[in-house]
């Protein structure tokens, strides 16, 4: 499933980032989003986009279109 479809507030593991461009993957890599790494989907903005993601102890927001391209497993 993609990060967009994944349930809130549960531990997820990144499987792949294949739909994203090379540059986008490099940016995410340096935030700590890469295959094998853990993350958690925390909540969604009042208007439905973007989403908050917890990586380690930090909270980041990512827009839906990016979340839709991140494959995860629980």
């Amino acid at each position: 499933m993609t990060l967009l479809e994944a349930p809130f507030r549960s531990q997820l593991r990144v499987l792949s980032l294949t739909g994203l461009s090379e540059e986008a993957r490099m940016v995410l890599l340096q935030l700590g989003v890469e295959p094998g790494e853990a993350l958690e989907k925390m909540h969604v903005a009042p208007l439905g986009d973007p989403l908050t993601i917890r990586i380690g102890e930090q909270l980041f927001t990512l827009r839906k279109e990016v979340c839709g391209l991140i494959e995860v497993e629980s």
Partner: protein, 651 residues
């Protein structure tokens, strides 16, 4: 040449707070060449009297740039001198992620010192970091500190200013890291990441409960709540808007009161009329034009400072991101645009909080289209003079027109943003739009006041000089040359006149002076240009003089129609405007003229202060010149269509 010390770190690592601690009040604010990214430097002197140049580099997450700020920081690292020394600032709360970048550079042979910031929060969180162990394992100097409280900053300062600290063995970073091929970079990153993981496992004692993150999530649950979140958002935005729209004006009025007192003193004490006029109407008025903005800027940045330090500002951006997305903007644009509804000058200054260069420029370009408070006196005069006080669907027509003007400004601003978005090459767009949500914190008043003062002093020194200069130049154009023969004959009449006649004569002199001035002659010369949109030379002079500030249009019309001061009793001016006839006896100014003027003022950049501040914020005349031209073109075209169409329809 003094040695360079560079502060490097992620955005939100507390780098700038640490910079302020190390630099004290001795700071220089400029821009990096060719872009709007702000450059902060300071000269710090060691006890031995050696000078060091301390630079606060823009925040960066990585060596593969996502934003203009990162690109600028990397370029600076790329070209730094061999004597330069890097101090990495990392957030101790998130050491495992934050150590990757400094370790990567260290592996490439670049000596770094690491300031582990936010130690106060680390211990509050029940964690501890063994910096001695980190030092022994890596050979890097580690300094645990809190830039917020100041603990540990002295030790770092002593280290970077000492003669014994290591120098960089490598002259330049490139091409070893910056131009590293993708695969090699991945490997280097992996290696650094693995070491960072090992180090944090060995040297960081985890707290039991992750108190801070859990507290953040609890607060987020309320503040970002589907219903309560937007309610709180509107309440806070209302306060922000009110503060610059309403609360700042008594302070501005106070400043202008002192300026007017000073003008009176000059007028009554300086004998030579020309010098007295230059001092009071030229220089003092120019200085007043600048100082009048200080309360707005001070209050707005105090509020932005509180919102930013407390962690709410990034969450505002998060909540409104969805609204701004269709226009190619992001959530950070909201506060600058909202501020511009009061005044584009603080609005444009507030674009500092937007990290993306392209978005920042777009916001600067569109913010003068928002209906600022300086347009209100003009709109009020025009609407009350020409729009019939009728009712439409039970609503007052003048009120509806005023509302339509606000709507027109906002919609046009967003449409222009969309056009800029669709036509720009995507080169400088962020690869990923993301916002870091920092911990909630209580703002520190000292840091806050220093931040506010920083913004005010930059405005006064960098933008204020340009604005005052332009104001004085405009005054010269509006006052010279004078028809001395006419003045002499009128002053003769003054001697025999009674009080009422005196005022009339003085008003006539003022009108004649304005008509004969360079600006007055230019207005007459330009009349053919403005005739197609319905203006005669008198209105054209009004348009020219309103470059100083839009509301000056009203007082200039007062002068040009020999009415003297009209502020506070505009009814006389309204009646005069309505009564003007053309040579063949028809009404000179009609509803069509009014609509044309409304549209013209909505779109054109009639404000030297905005031009001055846009120059300062973008570090070149290119953006303000572009703004002036595109807004004038838009204003003229729209006014032409409105005037021609409404003249036909209203016949």
């Amino acid at each position: 040449m003094s040695q360079e010390i560079l502060l490097v770190g992620r955005p939100n690592s507390g780098k700038t707070t640490l910079f302020n601690r190390l630099a004290g009040t001795n700071q220089k604010v400029g821009n990096y060449a060719g872009c709007t990214v702000e450059k902060k430097t300071s000269i710090v002197t060691s006890p031995e009297g050696i000078e060091f140049e301390l630079t606060d580099l823009p925040g960066m997450y990585s060596l593969k740039p996502n934003t203009m700020d990162e690109e600028v920081a990397l370029k600076h690292l790329d070209s730094m001198r061999s004597t330069a020394y890097l101090v990495f600032v990392v957030d101790g709360n998130n050491l495992e992620q934050e150590l990757i970048l400094p370790l990567l550079l260290h592996h490439r042979g670049l000596t770094v010192a690491i300031a582990v910031n936010m130690m106060d929060e680390v211990s509050e969180n029940g964690k501890s970091i063994n910096t001695d162990a980190l030092r022994t394992r890596t050979g890097i100097e580690f300094f645990p500190l809190s830039a917020k409280t100041g603990d540990g900053v002295e030790a770092l300062k002593n280290h970077i200013l000492s003669k014994t600290r290591p120098k960089n063995p490598r002259a330049v970073l490139a091409p070893s890291v910056l131009q590293m091929p993708e695969e090699q970079f991945r490997l280097a990153h992996k290696e650094a990441k693995a070491e960072s993981k090992r180090l944090s496992l060995a040297c960081v004692t985890q707290g039991l409960d992750n108190r801070l993150l859990r507290r953040d999530l609890r607060i987020d649950g309320i503040i970002l709540h589907r219903l309560f979140g937007p309610v709180l958002f509107f309440a806070i935005m209302f306060v922000v808007f009110q503060s610059i729209f309403t609360w700042a004006s008594p302070l501005s009025d106070g400043i202008l009161f002192f300026i007017s007192k000073a003008q009176e003193v000059v007028r009554s004490n300086v004998g030579a009329p020309l010098l007295s006029s230059l001092l009071s109407d030229g220089i003092l008025a120019g200085v007043g034009a600048v100082l009048a903005f200080v309360p707005q800027i001070g209050i707005l940045f105090l509020l932005i400072g509180i919102l930013e330090y407390s962690g709410y500002l990034p969450r505002v951006a998060y909540m409104v991101d969805r609204v701004m997305k269709p226009f190619g903007l992001d959530g950070k644009v909201f506060i600058p645009l909202l501020s511009s509804v009061a005044c584009a000058v603080p609005g444009i200054m507030a674009t500092r909080t937007i990290e993306n260069e392209r978005t920042r420029i777009t916001t600067i370009m569109i913010s003068p289209l928002m209906t600022c408070s300086a347009r209100l006196p003009v709109y009020t005069l025009l609407i009350s003079t020409f729009v019939p006080a009728a009712r439409v669907w039970g609503l007052s027509l003048p009120g509806l027109v005023m509302f339509a003007m606000y709507l027109l400004g906002t919609v046009t601003a967003l449409v222009v943003a969309l056009i800029l978005h669709l036509t720009s090459s995507n080169k400088k767009k962020n690869v990923i739009d993301m916002i870091h949500l920092p911990h909630y914190r209580t703002p520190d008043w000292k840091l806050l006041l220093r931040y506010v003062w920083g913004r005010i002093s930059v405005f006064l020194r960098k933008a204020g000089t340009v604005i005052a200069g332009m104001a004085i130049l405009l005054w010269v154009l509006l006052s010279f040359p004078r028809d001395e023969a006419f003045r002499a004959s009128m002053e003769n009449n003054l001697k025999t006149a009674n009080a009422e006649q005196k005022e009339q004569i003085q008003n006539q002199i003022a009108a004649k002076d304005l008509e004969n001035s360079i600006a007055g002659k230019t207005g007459k010369f330009l009349e053919p240009v403005f005739r197609p949109i319905g203006y005669d030379w008198k209105l054209t002079i009004g348009i020219l003089s309103s470059l100083a500030a839009r509301e000056v249009f009203v007082s200039t019309l007062g002068t040009v129609f020999s009415l003297g001061k009209v502020e506070g009793h505009e009814e006389g001016l309204s009646a005069t405007l309505r009564a003007q006839k053309t040579e063949d006896g028809k009404l000179k100014y009609t509803l069509a003229t009014c609509l044309s003027l409304l549209v013209f003022f909505a779109f054109s950049l009639q404000c030297i202060s905005t031009i001055g501040v846009a120059r300062r914020e973008t570090n070149s005349w290119k953006i303000p010149a572009t703004m002036f031209v595109y807004m004038f073109t838009l204003a003229y075209t729209a006014a032409f269509i409105v005037y021609q169409v409404s003249s036909l329809l209203l016949k």
